[in-house]
Structure formats: structure tokens, C-alpha cells
Symmetry: C2
Subunit: 1000 residues, 2 copies
């Protein structure tokens, strides 16, 4: 098979898009990070004018430089950029056709549209769409632009950005780009193939070196200043494109500085803000300019089609029998979470809706895949029943005059409801007297009802993020492209979002989404299944699990199947087929967490392990059948290899320094403006960890290593590996600590710090120090979570305090700890705030305990009295729950409750509980009780001690209350008796408030 060349790909795309109605333009003449920045996109997507354009864009991203060592990651990569404005209605199909023109047959590959929310804050732009994956490799970004330069776009533009290097790799089934042909040189006698590497590799090395090591920070900074000043001046002078050019130069010089590691987090904001302001200025000015020119491209453009005239209609002859109904909403690939949320919405909504519509029905079944949302209703009634409605009219006293004749109001009401005024009479309604009418409503035929209801149903489906795509202005997760709406075999015609319903569905993506006629609702499931689509998510999941396990077994391993991943994968495909691939054994030397993280997070692969150790294999799920599976496998293997190579690169770069050498760089990483840098935080943690070590009575060795672990804990945040994959924080710290020669327990502690429950004591202290510092500092800065918002993850931090204390079962004084942390903060943390923090933590503790299965009342009872020591709280909860479950509990609790209730009655004041003296006692029962109370050991620490004591008292208490009148006439006697039971009640103090218990 002849290999494709880089230039062929470009020429084919140029031809393809030129013949599909695009202007062909050129790359921009100043460094851009993406084709989006070319004015042919950035400016032209603004405003109402149509614009189809395609061009190559060599894109420069300094921090992607890998010295030419990575097979498909480079500081310069070549994009092919297409803009379609407005959406032509079939951009995905056009795109797939273009792949076909390149020789990429969807049947031979696994092509996937994977959710991608594109955002470019630096130019205040965003859109929704996908990464397109070819055998696991991202080869294209496909975005419906919603906003650019801060300006909302109308119409929306479709942006298709091909990654040409990756496409070449895929086409040639290559390991890396470097040896693939760019083209060839014809000499007089023979042709010489010139590789991509020959043209770009040396340069790639040099630029990587320049960006990472050589660029002079002061000079590039000075360039940035000059560029931004010039951009502003151009803007002020109305010179839009020159201004834009300088914005791009700002952006590039910022990227250089960033790659060079010269931008602190705090600065970054300022840089971004400046660039964003300028970009917005450009966008707004351009918009005005085009408006001033009266939108020249609009003049010649076609008048937009409106479907207003072609209101759907249907043949009203239909069966009177109950029929099945199916609605399929066909969409471009939904994000996995949107598949779930739409499913959930429809599941609750449909039954309610049918009720509201007065339509009798049988079973309702809801299904969701990435490409279709299906509502199936069995036995739907052919029409609504006829109904009688009671319609409320004017109040009786206003409906009749003093002569009993209907007033004007009553006559009006009668007329409106088509009643004979003579039949009007007053009835009691809602506790008043009104004139009323019973109106008979004829049931409408179901098709009519549905025609009205279905658009509203579709409209009712909401998503966390949604987008516009055509001039209907409708928002949805992704564009809607078809509806099947069949009642029996009859199409229910409606139009919503510019799409008209019919009886045509679409098949699987890898089969080119062929049109599928659905003959009738009854045949829906069979037809869809014949098309190879698994509608039911549970079925897809089961199939995945089965295939993945089988594949893993083939190599004697076990697949690691995590629920979240399984769920996501099941929402990415309609026909799951497992494919297993391998990777180079050498990568097994990378931290295992890195490997797993890359496989799961980036690639949605299932890792395979054996005896707790990873195997050099992975299992991917393809969307489609097993045709040409070898190509799909090799493609996926290539991608994973490249990703691991990338990780390898970072690790190799990173370990040139020892872990502790990274720590000073934390000064450049902002924690929070009021609280300083991560280095500041790290310093506070050190002080706090010192206190905590002593609070937790660590040994001298433990204390020393805790200090070291805390000292190093945050250093990995400024390594390249963590910068690249934040989720590896801590894990990387641990690995690098070991490689830096730190003691093992220190390394482990560093690794554990982000785990909810660190296993080691040292890890526990580091984690506590971290989380307490965050809680205390951020609360003091007024950043306590509100409502559902918790941007700093403080709920998780609080759980991360109580959960490990519980699990380690170590006693701890949260109040003291908070107080210590408060001392280290750069801002004041008053008593009120400390209280607030402790309450917040208690709240989390409460949740944790209940989630652990303890009865809510037990938990509440304990936490009401003891919450500052979570481990103690748990012990108390456990004991109390055991008591509560005792058979004789119904005897114990009421006795104690009598004591508590009486002194909690509103008429009892606390000064009445102060004095107890035998001298004021007259009854033997009170004296017996008194003696018994006196004989108790004071200061019970546990629920058991306390309740065992109470149990002893129960008979005496019961007799006391039966025989003695506590609320005696005599005030002293009364107070003395109150004080006696108060004494008993107070035994629970600091242990549990039994008043919170059921049955109290």
C-alpha cells in the first residue's frame, strides 16, 4: 500500500473544501496558536454575514515543544481550518466525507465524536462540540462557535480543525511523524522522498530549546509590552487588523514567557486580562466596521430559509385502537453526562406529561444513546377521554342582584362558558360561594395532542451547557438533526429547532449514519437493533463488561473496570466492541498511577492488571463492529504510546532537579490573593504540622519526617508532569521524592496527602495541615461555600479532616487545631469565624456518620454533645446505636427522658437547678434517688459508662416520678427536686443529647 504524503493530504483537503463551497485562503503571517486566531476566522465569524473558508495554519504552541522526541507532539503543528457560517445542516457528514477523500474509510476505523467544550479565555471565546477521535487519536476539533472576542455569534459558525500530522500518522499507520513522507523531489532521473522529519525535526529541536531554555525573559517581556502598547494605539486609531496582529504577537510572546516558566499565577491573570481586553476591542470594532459597510457579503447572500410557511400537517385518518408511540430525537453526539441527564429528565417527565395530556397509556420506556433519545409508550390511547370541568365564576353575592337575577358579571360568565343563564346557581367552592359551570370538554385525538405537546417536550430537555447552531435560535446540548415521531405507523408531524419530524432515523456513525425507515412504532426496537444499535444503556454496559473481562482473561489478567469509566464509555458508543492493544514494556517503569490516569482519563481505556501490577495492555471500546480491528488497535496503540512518551518526557525533564529544588518555585504559584503563594501556604502548613504532631503525640522520628514531608508536600505542583496532569499531584510528589532519595515514609506521606484517608500517620498530619489551612484561610477570606457552590472544594476538605480521624480512630481537638491554624494565617481569624468553621466541619461529620449507616437520630444526639473529636464521636455513635438497639431501650430512654423533659420545660429556669440538699427532702423516693445519684462516679466519658449508670437509676427514677410531685408548691422543695433530676439529666452532657433520639 502506497503511503500518503503530508502534502497530498493538504492538496486533497484544499480541493475538497474548494469544491464544497469554501474560499481557500492562506496561513497567517504572524505566529498563531491556532487557526482560530487567523482573521479569516476570528473576525469573519462575527456578525451576520455568511462565510465559508478553509486554510492551512501552521500553529505554534511553545509549551508543546518536545525537542523532536515525541512522535506526535510538537511546538509547531499543522492545522487545517474550516469555517462554515452558517451551519450547513450537515457539517459532520461533510467532515466525514472529507476524511473519506483522504482515504479514511469510517468502516475501517473507529471514528468518534468525543465531547469537547472549547474555550479560549484569552480571547473571550467559547463553543461546544467534539474532539474527533480516529482510533483513539484526536485528529480534529469540531466546534460550534458561540462567542468570539466577547461577542455572541449569530449565526453560529461551525469550526473544523484538522490536525494534519496526526491524520498522516493514522493514514500510514505509523509510529511517529518523523519518517513519514512530506512529498518528493523529482530529480532528472529519479525521485527522492523527503520525510516530514527532514523538513521539521531539526527546527523542532531548536525551537523547543529556544522556548524552554534560551528565550531571554527580559527581552520577551519587553516585546510583550511594546506589542500591547502598539495594539492599543492601533485600536484607538481604528486600525483593526494591525491591532489584531499585535494582539497575536502579545499572545505569542506571552506563550514564550509561560513556557520559559516566567509567568507567575498572579501575573497570568493580568496578562490574560490585557489580551482579552484587546481582543474584545478588536472584535467590537470589527463588528462596527462591518455594520458601517452594511454587511457587503449579506447583500448577495441567499435569503435565509424560513419554514414558517411549511407548517407540518398530517393525515387525520387514523386508527381508533390503542397504538404504540415512539419519539426518537436524533442528535449529533451528546456528551456522556448529557445522555444521562436527558434520560433522567424524560424518565420523570413522560408519565407526568401523559397524565397532564389525559392520555391513557401502558408501559413507558426511555432510552438514551449519544445519538438518540427515545421515548416509547405502549398502548397509547387514540384520544383523550371526554372530561367535565367545573369552572368557577363570580362570587355568589356579585353574581345575583338583590332580586336574585343574574348580574352582568354572571351573564358574561354564562356566555363565555356557553351556558343558559337560567341554570346558573351558587355552589360552595374553596370555602366560599361562587357561581360555577360544569363544562364538558371533548377529548382531542391523540395525534393532535401530540403535535402540540412534542415540541414543548423537546424544549423541556435542559442541559448544563447548551448551544445554538441555526437560526431557530434554539439551544440544545448539541444540534438536533432529526425526529422520528410515530403513533402506530402514522407520523406525528411537528417542527422544532428547524427540524421537521418524520419516520426516518439514522444508523450507526461507522456505517455513515444511513437513513433508516421506521415502518411503525411497534417495529422501532427491531429496526434499531437490526441496525446494530444497542439502545439500552444497561445492555451496553453489560456487553462492555463481558467483552472487557474476556479480553483481559485472554492475557491472563484482570481488567480494572471502574464504574465511572464504564458509565461514560457506555454513553460514548451505540455498538460496543472491545479491542485490546499493548504498549511498550519500558513505560511500565513510569509511576503506575500515571499510566492508569492516562489510560482512563485521557483515553477511556480499561487498564489490565495481574496481581496488582499493571500489564502492558489496555482495552478500548470501539463504536462499531470488528471489521479491520487491527487498524483500530494499531491506531490506539500509537496514541497511547505517544501519550506515554509524553509523560516520559515530562518525568525525564522533571527529575533533572531534586524535589526540594522545586519548592522555591512555589512562590510563583498563587494560592489566593489574600493568602499568598503556595510557598506561603506551605510555610503555614509546616508550622501547623508541628502543632498537630504534638497534638497527635507523634514520636520524635515521626515528627521529624512529618516536618520533611510537609516541607516537600506541595513541591510537585510546579513540576511539568503535574502541570500537565493535575490529577497526578501528590502521586508525582511521591515518585519524585523516592527518586530524590527521600525516606520512604516521607514519600508515602506526600503521595497520601490528597487521598481522603491517608494510611500513614505522617500522611494524616500532612493532609490535616493542608485541609485545615485551606478551610481556615478561605473562610477567613469570606470564601465559605454558599448554596451549591464550592469552588475551593471546602466540603471535600472538611470530609478529608473528619474521615481520616475517624478511620485512624485518633482523638483530636478540632477546636484547638483550628485555633492553631488561625494563628498562622496572614489575615485575622476571629472566634466567630472559628466557630463557623467548626460548625461546618461538624456538618460534614454528620454526613459522614450517617453515610456510614448510623441512625440519623443517634448521630444527631452524639454530635449535639461532642463533635470536636470525630473519632470520639464515632465511638459514641457506635455505642449509642448499640444501646438504641437493645430490647430494653424502651425502658431506659423514657426514664431518662422524664428527667430531661421536666427540666427543659419552659417554666424551669436554670437557677432552679443549682442546689440539692437532703435537708429539703421529705419523700423516701427522692432520698433513694438522691443517694443513688450521689454514689455515681463523676465525669463519664463514654456513652456506655453513662448509660450503664442511667440503667442503674431507671427503677429509682420511675418510682421517684410516680410517687413524688416534682413541681411541689414549696419553692425550695420544688427547686431541690428539679435540681435532683437536673443532676441526672446533666450526666449526658458532653456525651450525647438523648433528646435528639426517636422515642424521647
Amino acid at each position: 500500500m502506497k503511503n500518503s504524503s503530508f502534502q497530498e493530504i493538504i492538496l486533497k483537503l484544499q480541493d475538497f473544501w474548494a469544491s464544497h463551497g469554501c474560499l481557500i485562503t492562506q496561513p497567517y503571517y504572524t505566529q498563531v496558536g491556532a487557526g482560530t486566531m487567523n482573521p479569516a476566522t476570528f473576525l469573519r465569524v462575527l456578525g451576520p454575514e455568511p462565510w465559508n473558508v478553509a486554510y492551512v495554519e501552521p500553529s505554534v504552541r511553545p509549551d508543546d515543544g518536545r525537542y523532536g522526541e515525541n512522535p506526535n507532539r510538537f511546538q509547531l503543528h499543522t492545522q487545517y481550518q474550516v469555517i462554515l457560517k452558517p451551519d450547513p445542516g450537515n457539517p459532520q457528514e461533510l467532515y466525514l466525507e472529507s476524511l473519506n477523500a483522504l482515504g479514511i474509510d469510517p468502516r475501517q476505523h473507529d471514528i468518534r465524536f468525543v465531547e469537547d467544550n472549547w474555550e479560549q479565555p484569552a480571547i473571550s471565546a467559547w463553543g461546544l462540540g467534539w474532539e474527533v477521535w480516529l482510533d483513539g487519536q484526536e485528529i480534529t476539533q469540531f466546534t460550534y462557535f458561540q462567542q468570539m472576542g466577547g461577542v455572541a455569534l449569530d449565526p453560529v459558525s461551525v469550526e473544523i480543525t484538522y490536525g494534519l500530522e496526526r491524520i498522516l500518522i493514522a493514514l500510514n499507520n505509523a509510529k511517529a511523524i518523523w519518517n513519514e513522507p512530506w512529498g518528493s523531489i523529482q530529480g532528472r532521473e529519479s525521485a527522492t522522498v523527503v520525510t516530514y522529519g527532514e523538513i521539521r525535526r531539526q527546527e523542532e529541536f531548536e525551537h523547543s530549546k529556544y522556548y524552554f531554555e534560551a528565550a531571554d525573559v527580559e527581552r520577551v517581556r519587553a516585546m510583550y509590552d511594546l506589542f500591547s502598547a502598539e495594539a492599543e494605539a492601533c485600536l484607538a486609531g481604528g486600525l483593526i487588523v494591525p491591532a489584531h496582529d499585535y494582539v497575536l504577537k502579545c499572545s505569542h510572546s506571552f506563550n514564550i514567557l509561560d513556557t520559559r516558566g516566567a509567568i507567575s499565577v498572579a501575573e497570568r491573570q493580568a496578562f490574560f486580562r490585557r489580551i482579552r481586553e484587546l481582543a474584545k476591542g478588536v472584535a467590537v470594532a470589527y463588528g462596527e466596521q462591518r455594520k458601517g459597510l452594511e454587511y457587503p457579503l449579506l447583500k448577495n447572500a441567499e435569503v435565509r430559509m424560513k419554514n414558517a410557511e411549511s407548517k407540518p400537517s398530517f393525515n387525520s385518518a387514523f386508527s381508533n385502537l390503542h397504538s404504540s408511540f415512539v419519539l426518537e430525537i436524533g442528535v449529533e453526539e451528546l456528551p456522556a453526562s448529557d445522555v444521562d441527564s436527558a434520560h433522567a429528565h424524560l424518565t420523570t417527565r413522560i408519565p407526568t406529561l401523559l397524565d397532564e395530556l389525559h392520555l391513557a397509556h401502558g408501559d413507558v420506556r426511555i432510552f438514551a444513546t449519544p445519538r438518540r433519545l427515545t421515548v416509547y409508550v405502549e398502548n397509547l390511547s387514540p384520544s383523550q377521554p371526554d372530561r367535565e370541568n367545573l369552572v368557577k365564576g363570580p362570587p355568589a353575592d356579585k353574581a345575583f342582584d338583590k332580586d336574585g337575577k343574574p348580574t352582568q358579571a354572571a351573564l358574561g360568565f354564562a356566555k363565555k362558558n356557553n351556558l343558559d343563564p337560567a341554570t346558573l346557581e351558587a355552589r360552595e367552592i374553596d370555602g366560599g360561594k361562587y357561581v360555577a359551570a360544569v363544562v364538558k370538554q371533548k377529548g382531542r385525538p391523540t395525534p393532535e395532542v401530540l403535535v402540540d405537546a412534542l415540541p414543548k417536550l423537546v424544549e423541556s430537555i435542559k442541559f448544563e451547557k447548551s448551544m445554538r447552531w441555526n437560526d431557530s435560535g434554539v439551544s440544545f446540548s448539541r444540534p438536533i438533526r432529526w425526529y422520528v415521531a410515530l403513533l402506530g405507523d402514522m407520523v406525528i408531524p411537528f417542527e422544532y429547532a428547524g427540524v421537521v419530524s418524520g419516520n426516518t432515523s439514522r444508523g450507526l456513525r461507522p456505517y455513515d449514519s444511513p437513513e433508516i425507515k421506521i415502518p411503525s412504532a411497534d417495529k422501532y426496537f427491531d429496526t434499531i437493533r437490526e441496525a446494530g444499535i444497542l439502545l439500552d444503556k444497561e445492555e451496553r454496559k453489560a456487553s462492555i463488561v463481558e467483552q472487557v473481562n474476556q479480553a483481559a482473561a485472554l492475557i491472563g489478567g484482570e481488567a480494572i473496570i471502574e464504574d465511572g469509566l464504564l458509565n461514560e464509555v457506555a454513553n460514548l458508543i451505540e455498538m460496543p466492541t472491545a479491542v485490546m492493544g499493548g504498549f511498550d514494556n519500558e513505560y511500565l517503569s513510569l509511576p503506575q498511577d500515571v499510566l492508569i490516569s492516562v489510560m482512563k482519563k485521557h483515553q477511556r481505556y480499561f487498564p489490565v492488571e495481574k496481581n496488582g501490577k499493571l500489564l502492558a495492555h489496555f482495552i478500548a471500546i470501539r463504536n462499531g463492529d470488528d471489521l479491520h480491528m487491527d487498524i483500530v488497535r494499531e491506531g490506539n496503540e500509537h496514541v497511547l504510546g505517544a501519550r506515554f512518551a509524553d509523560a516520559n518526557f515530562f518525568v525525564r525533564e522533571d527529575i533533572k532537579l531534586k524535589l526540594e529544588e522545586y519548592r522555591p518555585k512555589l512562590a510563583g504559584l498563587m494560592f489566593h490573593t489574600k493568602l499568598g503563594s503556595m510557598l506561603d501556604k506551605s510555610e503555614r502548613m509546616l508550622k501547623l504540622a508541628e502543632e498537630l504532631s504534638s497534638m497527635l503525640a507523634l514520636t520524635e522520628h515521626e515528627t521529624r519526617n512529618t516536618h520533611r514531608a510537609t516541607f516537600l508536600s506541595k513541591a510537585d505542583l510546579v513540576t511539568q508532569m503535574v502541570t500537565e496532569m493535575t490529577s497526578l499531584q501528590g502521586i508525582i510528589g511521591r515518585e519524585y521524592a523516592i527518586r530524590s532519595g527521600e525516606q520512604k515514609d516521607i514519600a508515602i506521606a506526600i503521595g497520601e496527602q490528597y487521598q481522603t484517608v491517608p494510611q500513614t500517620k505522617i500522611g494524616l498530619v500532612v493532609a490535616l495541615a493542608d485541609r485545615l489551612d485551606s478551610l481556615v484561610g478561605l473562610f477567613a477570606s469570606g470564601l465559605a461555600p454558599t448554596g451549591a457552590k464550592d469552588p475551593f472544594g471546602l466540603r471535600r476538605a472538611a470530609i478529608g479532616i473528619v474521615q481520616p480521624l475517624i478511620e485512624h480512630n485518633v482523638d483530636f481537638d478540632l477546636a484547638a487545631a483550628v485555633k492553631e491554624s488561625a494563628k498562622t494565617q496572614p489575615i485575622e481569624v476571629g472566634a466567630e469565624v472559628q466557630k463557623q468553621i467548626l460548625d461546618f466541619i461538624t456538618g460534614r461529620l454528620n454526613v459522614v456518620l450517617k453515610d456510614a449507616g448510623y441512625k440519623y437520630d443517634v448521630v444527631d444526639a452524639v454530635l449535639a454533645e461532642q463533635s470536636n473529636n470525630p473519632a470520639g464521636s464515632l465511638r459514641a455513635v457506635k455505642q449509642l446505636q448499640a444501646w438504641v438497639e437493645r430490647k430494653d431501650w424502651h425502658e431506659i430512654l423514657p426514664a431518662f427522658a422524664r428527667c430531661v423533659r421536666i427540666i427543659r420545660s419552659p417554666s424551669v429556669t436554670s437557677d432552679q437547678l443549682l442546689v440539692i440538699g437532703r435537708v429539703f427532702m421529705s419523700e423516701p423516693e427522692e432520698m433513694d434517688l438522691f443517694d443513688a445519684v450521689l454514689s455515681l462516679q463523676p465525669g463519664y466519658k463514654s456513652v456506655d459508662e453513662f448509660l450503664n449508670a442511667i440503667m442503674e437509676l431507671v427503677p429509682l427514677i420511675n418510682i421517684f416520678f410516680d410517687k413524688v410531685l416534682v413541681m411541689a408548691e414549696d419553692k425550695i422543695v420544688r427547686n431541690n427536686r428539679l435540681a435532683l433530676v437536673g443532676q441526672i439529666a446533666s450526666l449526658s452532657s458532653g456525651i450525647a443529647d438523648l433528646g435528639k433520639l426517636e422515642g424521647f
Copy 2:
């Protein structure tokens, strides 16, 4: 006819060159002035590796910005760049094929390869080649690169740079680019054509405004500094491409500053030097890098073909009759001046060569066109005659021993010359006795002789500038592509410059240079004429003159046919056909000199006038026949229109300021480092003009206006129009002076300053001041012309001093003037230098007078005695020449000569000539002569006065010499007589040295 679109052109070129063995790459990602700067050219043409590449390059040239008002001049234009390395042997044909692929049929147009010596001093690069003209429009630059970044190139690369906008204009026969289609956008229902203007015009306006008006000079300067520092740092770090990127940024920022008018001439040098050094550094480093990589592209490349094995051979059977011989050297289009110089060389060389080769021959005819150099020899002898040579052997005394027997030396000589030793005898040769041999040399057959001689003949043709193109390493004006070498009908086989001779010539360019078999030398002329080629330049000239005059007559005008232009045009074509076109009447308001200059200099058109006023027409000469002449005419009209629009733009911009407002800007224009700026020069001229005015006795009014004219004289040098077309200096000054309200005689004087002979007195003074200042200043700076070199045009300056003084016939003291000028110079001008300057001027005066037809001896005679006043010299020359031509001159001169000769004899010392006294006289003849001498009026000023006086003396002189012995024994008598004739001889002093005359 469907219009072409811009993107179609690009796609077609991409396809064409891809299918012709080029790599297709992308435009560069930073602003470049030309595709040459893209590393795909700049770096890849270095070193031995092959490289064929083609790419689009939007090229940014700030100073070409015209605010979108010019039909085909823009700050951003789109190049299509092709590099072929090494030369494929037929690059012109490939290029023409590519035009055909674009729809440009050479038969329908006038396609011309017009000499262009490409040079880019900023990157130390140069090459030779052409501008390719399509109907008068430059659409392509075609260059054989000889050097890049200071590195000599081996192999040479062919660079083809298409100007895509101009090609589109030509293809669509459009007036301007703006309304031509770029491409079209396909909407759902219809397609919208998008024009080039829609995409680029607004941006063109903004960038023009930015570059000319808005760019912040201080900031851009700072950018330049940062870029250049960063380039240097990259270079030091071995980061070649990053360094190159910054060199490009330097270059662009320099261009901005330049367009903004912020670069003084002095600074320009420094900027250039810096950029050049950096570019050289990049080139050298790249060369080393590739060498270090062992030239990867060379490894796979074909082994270069060597013709060593295939030494040409020929059939030795040939006629014994005299035959005609023809040699045609087929070349790619030669520059016009090279056509002439090659013709001149061959004209003198061929007869000599044939003599040297001992080949008898009839008439020799030499022809030259841009594509062929033809040598034709009639009746060439079939072989050399047999010859006898006398070969000198050892001296006789060493040839024979004392016994008379031949020595070893003699025997050796005999053997070497194939003689019987017995026949050896001594002969007298060169005044000595030697053994000698008469060696008979058999005449070689002519073909054999020619095989050896022809390569050397071709090699002997030298050019002012020559180039290499293939691995033969041969230099020629342009590549040699074929030889026809026929003796009778027999091919004389030889190889030179990698080309082998044959009998195939090539036809006219517009007919695709078809191959033409030449059956025999006799048929050469007929065959060539049949192919439509006019070999004979005189014939071409006559045809041009006839056609041009006819055309002009058609519109009732007269063509302005200047010799130089006629000569050049005749050397640009092989088949002249006139085409007449018109231009917009509005342009007639531009200065007439501007119009003529543009037509002649830029376009090689013949202007048409009527009654001394230009008509809005021009006549161009097409190479080819009159097919599709309308297309050719319209193309040429478009070009001229655009050029006039451009001139219009400059003039409109320029006249926003008054002329005097430009004068201060002269401070930014360097005259010479030692002599300061043009403003300094202008100030010196003012002082000198003051003196000259008084020397020339100008009136007060004249003096005042001379001052003003001198004051303004150089101001136009900093206008845009003169910057663009230097040849218009003075002319523009005059026009702008008038528009600025200056007096007419001042304006005229400004206009005249560069004319060799200004017509007005004021103009004369300005010119003299200018030229004297240059001569004096530059001589004092050590920059007197040496040999053939005269970089400052000082010969012309000197002629420009004497010629007008002569023609105005005004007396003038050059010595005094030089002295005055010397006073104004910033450096010392000693007496020695002043003398040198005066001698230099006298030398020019000498030439001027001789060129005017005066006898050389007369001129010499006069100038020996008077040269500081050219007008006087001329008068003297005139008179003397009249005397010399008198019939009785043979009586006058000898008499006077006797006087002169005797006192000039070596034995006479000057002290002998001091005393004359009648007391020492003894002879009546000497007394008579003495009396006659005494009676002369002293101090003759003119030749006539002097010679009239002499004529009176002639009889007395003759008698004196006949009768009196001047060299008497008595010393006093002798001295007295010498003093007497000395007195007579001295009468010529200050008038003429008659001793220089013939017959003296």
C-alpha cells in the same frame, strides 16, 4: 468567458508543481518581504543537497502600501514561490507550461524575459535572471541564485516567483484586482462570489495607514533592538531557525521604520549591516549543520550525470570542398547590453581566430538576438593548408663536437623532429648560429580544428556580469541551452558548459520555442527566417522604426524614438510587432517627464507626441506576431495605467508639503560620511553659488534667484516620487517648485541642474556649484576615479563643468572656483589636491574639445597653455585650428618653431635667456629682428593676436636664422641671441604651446 478566481490560480499552481516533483510547503509564520526569506528558500538553497519546493507566500512590503487605491500595488501581495535545485535544464519551459496550466497561452500574449539582476544586500544575496513580462506587466521574477547569506551557491538554484495578483488581473483582463473573484461561498441554495477586495481591501487601507502614519517609531525601534539582540543570542546558542525568525522580524521592523520615514541614510547602512551580518551568520551556521548531518538529502539523491564518458564524436567523412560554417549559441534571454557586447566580441574575434587556425574563408557574418549568437563563415576551407615551420635547435657550437659530429643534444633534436641527423646544419637565426630543422606540418581537417576551437570560442565570450547554472561550473550571461554547429551539413560535435552541439535550433518564445532542424549551414538563414526570427539587429531596428512611425501616424502624432531605447528594444525581441495603446487623459496632468520616464524606462514604450505635447498613447513592441493583439494591448494599457496611478499617488502625497519643507529632511540623506549629509552639501553649494554669482557677474536679481534655486535644489531628493524614480531628480524639483509658488526661473534652474548644459544662467550656477562641490569634496576624500571605476560619476561632473562653460561661452576661472569650493569643505583641500582636480577637469575638457571635432594637436597645444577657462580655451582652439588650416601655415609654424626649438635644446639654460641688449648685437639681421620684437604690443590674449604678430616676424626670423649664428663663440653674444629668440618663443605663453602641433 468565465473569470478565473484567485484561489483557482493557487490550487492549479500547487497541483502543477506537485506533479512536477516539488515539495509543497506553507507560507512562513512571520512577516516576510518575499518568499525568498522563507527558510524553505533561504536555508535550503545552501549547500549541495537537491531541493524542489513550491509554496504560496503572502509578502509584506510596507512601503508598497497605497491605501487600497492602486490597482496592483499593495503592502501585502501574494507570491507563489518555486525553487528548483539543481537547475532541471528546462526551467523556463516548465514555467511557461505552468502558465499554460493557468490558462495563459503564450500565443495570445506577449511574454518576455526581461533582464533582471536580483540583489538583496540586506541578506547578502544575488542572482541573475529576468522579470517575466506578460503584456508589459511583470508577473514573475525568475532568478538563478548565485549567492545567499554571503555564501556562494553550488549548485545554483532556480527561483521562480509568481506575482499572483498580477496574474489574476491579466487572466481576467481586469482594470484592478479589487473586484476580481477570490473564490465563492456556497450557501444552501446559491453561491456568492467573494472578491479579492472584499477580503483584502479594508485591511490594505488599515495597514497602509499604519505603516505610513501610525506606527510608533520609538516602539518599533525598540522592537528592532530586541529582535536583533535575540537573533544574536539564538545564533550564539546554535539555534538557527529561531535566529532566522528574529532576523526576519528585524527586517520587517526596519521596513516599518523606513516606510514611516524614520531611517536616515546614515542609519540605513548600520541597519543593513546588522541584518546582513545576522543573515550571514544564519547561513553559515546552517551550512555547517547540514554538513555535520552529512547532507541527508544527498544520500538518496541521484548521482549527478557526468558527460565525461560521452565525449562527442563525428563522422570523419566529409567534403573536400569549401563549405559554409554556422555556429549558433542558443541561450536563455540575454540582457540587451550583453547581446551587443557578445556581438562586438565575436565580430573582432572570429577573423583573428580563423587566421590563428589557418583556415581560409570567405565573408564572416555575426548576428546576435536575445536568444542566439550566430557566427556564419562563408567558404570555409575544408582543412588547414600544409605548412613548413623552421624549428630552432641547439646553438651550433653545442650541436657539433670538435670533430664536427652531432652531439647528443643535436641527435636528440633530430630525433624529436624526425630528421636524419646527417642532414643537420647550422643556420643564422636571430643573429646567432643554431642547428635548425624545417618541419612540415600537415594541415588538419577543418572539422577537427573546430572541435577544439569552438569550446574555447564560447569560453572567450565574457560579460560584465555572468552566472553559473549547472555543475559544469561555467559562467555565462545566462544559461546556454543549445548549440548548432554545422560545417556544410555536418555537425561539428563539441561539448561546453554541459551542452552538446547538434543541428537543432529553437524557434520563437511565443511559439513555445519549437525545435528547428537546420539541414545545413547554407540553409541556416532561410530556416531561421522561416521561423519568423529577424537575426539582424539592424533589420529589427528598421522594422521597429517603421512600425512605430506608422502607428503614431495613425493618430496623427509622432513617435519619440530615442536611440538608446530603440537599441534596447531591438535586443529584447526576435520578431518585433508594434502595438499601440492608450491611457487615461487625466494622467496627462502629471509632469510630462514623469510620463515619458515611466514609458521609456519602466516599460520600454515609445511615447507619442504632437506639437511637442504628449498624446495619451504609447507604442509597445511585442515579441511575436499580431495574433490576439487586443489582449496584449489591454494588458499593456493596464500596466501603464497602474504605473501612472502610482506616480499620481506619490505626487499627491508629495505636494501636501511645499518644496522648501522637504529641505530640512536632507539632513537624513547622507552625501558621504566625510562630507556630511545632503543638507550639508546644500549649504556648501549655497556659499559657493554666492561666489560663483559674483565671478560670473550675475545681476542682483539673478544672484537672488540663484540663491533661492540653490537653496531648493536638492529638496526633491527626499520626496516620494524621486525616491521611487531617481531619474526624475530635478524634474520633480522643478514641478514641485512651480506648484509651491516659486518664481519660474528658479523652478527652471532647479530642473536644469542635472542637465549637462543648463540653458539658463541660474541653472548654470546651480549646476556648477553642485559639480564643483562634488569634485572638490570627493577628491579631497581620496575618492578620485581610478582606472575604469568612477562610482561617484566624477568624470561626468567634470564634463558638466566644462561643457556648459563652453556652450554658454562665459569666461571663468576654474582655479579660483576650486579654491572657493575648497574653503567650504569640512576637510582640508590642499594645493596639491586642487591641482589634481584642475588637471582632472582639463583632461575632460580635452576630450570634450576633441569630441567636438577639433584636431588633437590643436587642442593639446591650447590646453598646454590655457585650460582654467574652458570658454577661452575653445576660442583659442577655434582660432588656432583656423591658422593651422591656412595655406601659408607651413611658412609660419616653422619660423616660430625655429625660435622655440633652439631655446628648448638641452644645452640652453634659462639664465641664458635673461638679457637682451642692442649693445651686444653685431649683425643687422639680429638688430632688425630685435627692433621688430620691440615694436610688438605686449601681452597678446588671443591666438589670432599672437599669430598675426608672429606672421609679421616670419621673414625677419627666417633671415635671422639664415644669416646669424645664434650659438656664437662669445658667451654674451650667444646669450643675447638666445634671449632674443626666447622673447619671440615666449609670445605663445598663456596662449598655446605650438610645440604640440603637428609639423612643429
